[in-house]
């Protein structure tokens, strides 16, 4: 019979600089074991305490230092493959393909709602998660996730055209090994 142990780690909270005192996020690290295999679940919970919709997407590269304009261009207007997201939308093609992390996965978070991004890190030993690895995950959650409120993004885009592709679930789970190669 498999033995399961659960240890709740620590929580760090921070505000999104661009939306200071409007959005609150917590990063929580939970650890559990199944036999000798250690699972670390690093979870970011975003609570939209503003009065307008907030849009969330994830970039493959850090957005640290980018302006709002650069963040929008990078995700919506930059070619990824043969097309940019805006081109696929305009060609009526984007709603025929699934949400793709770093390309077309956009979450609309209404006021008073929340969105949770969980990253699972699995370790094949009894040792606790390395602090370096946790720092990498925490850094990813702080530097690769874009938050933009409705009034800001509306200056660049007609948001109506994206409604068909918004990510539906309130939770997104990512296996750290899948994209941290």
């Amino acid at each position: 019979m498999k033995k399961i142990f659960i240890i709740v780690g620590f929580v760090t909270a921070y505000f999104i600089p661009a939306l200071s005192q409007e959005l609150k996020t917590d990063i929580e690290n939970s650890v559990y074991f199944i036999d000798s295999i250690e699972f670390n679940l690093v979870t970011l919970e975003l609570r939209n305490t503003t009065k307008e919709d907030v849009y969330v997407w994830i970039e493959e590269d850090s957005i640290h230092g980018l302006t709002t304009d650069q963040k929008v261009k990078s995700f919506y207007f930059k070619n990824k493959g043969d097309f940019s997201l805006i081109q696929l939308i305009n060609e009526n093609l984007a709603n025929e393909i699934p949400s793709i992390l770093f390309k077309s996965l956009i979450k609309k978070v209404p006021p008073n709602d929340c969105f949770i991004i969980s990253i699972l890190y699995k370790k094949e030993s009894n040792a606790a998660i390395g602090s370096e690895e946790f720092k990498k995950i925490e850094s990813f959650l702080k530097n690769n996730i874009v938050y933009m409120n409705h009034s800001t993004i509306s200056k660049f885009l007609d948001l109506k055209q994206f409604e068909a592709i918004y990510y539906k679930s309130k939770m997104l789970c990512i296996d750290w090994k899948d994209f941290n190669k």
Binding site: F77, K78, N79, D82, S84, Q87, E91, L93, E96, I97
Partner: protein, 190 residues
Amino acid sequence: MITNTLTAEDAKYIQFDENGNINLELLNSHSSESGNYNSLLGLANAETVINVSLDDHFNYVDENGVAGTSEMSYQPAGTMAPDVNGETISGTSTGEAGLTGKTLFPDLNGKQNSPDGTLKIIVNNKLSEAARAEIYSHEANGHAYIYVTTGGDRARASHNVTTGWIEQNNELKVRIIDSKKETIINMRNR
């Protein structure tokens, strides 16, 4: 816009009457090695009526014949990385972006189709002169040309994109990029 896709020599054989109809006799009187000129020949001589316009919106009918209107969004130069040599499918040499162009086929097999039985090519009227010619190249010499020369084969004339966002319709991709490259060279040489 159409003459900007051609060399100055080929453009001498392009003439429109007061209703905007192309002078077919003059067009057919000239032969050229140009891909863009030969695409125009193919379109102008097609049985399907082709309507080219500059606009900021277009009307369409969906697969059930229900009418709709779509506004054509526009983002100014510098929004996208400029595609200086016409090497991408949908970019412009100026970096302008948005809903830059649309081809509406005269059947009911897509989400947006022509409302009146003609094949419609609509190019965003906010685009610069250069970008208009490049987007016309994409819509007319890519989508429309394949559609009319294959007897209305919508699949061959349409994008087919994988989850990696790579164009799988190589025939369309090659036609579009070849035409855009030619247009950019012809505009540079004017």
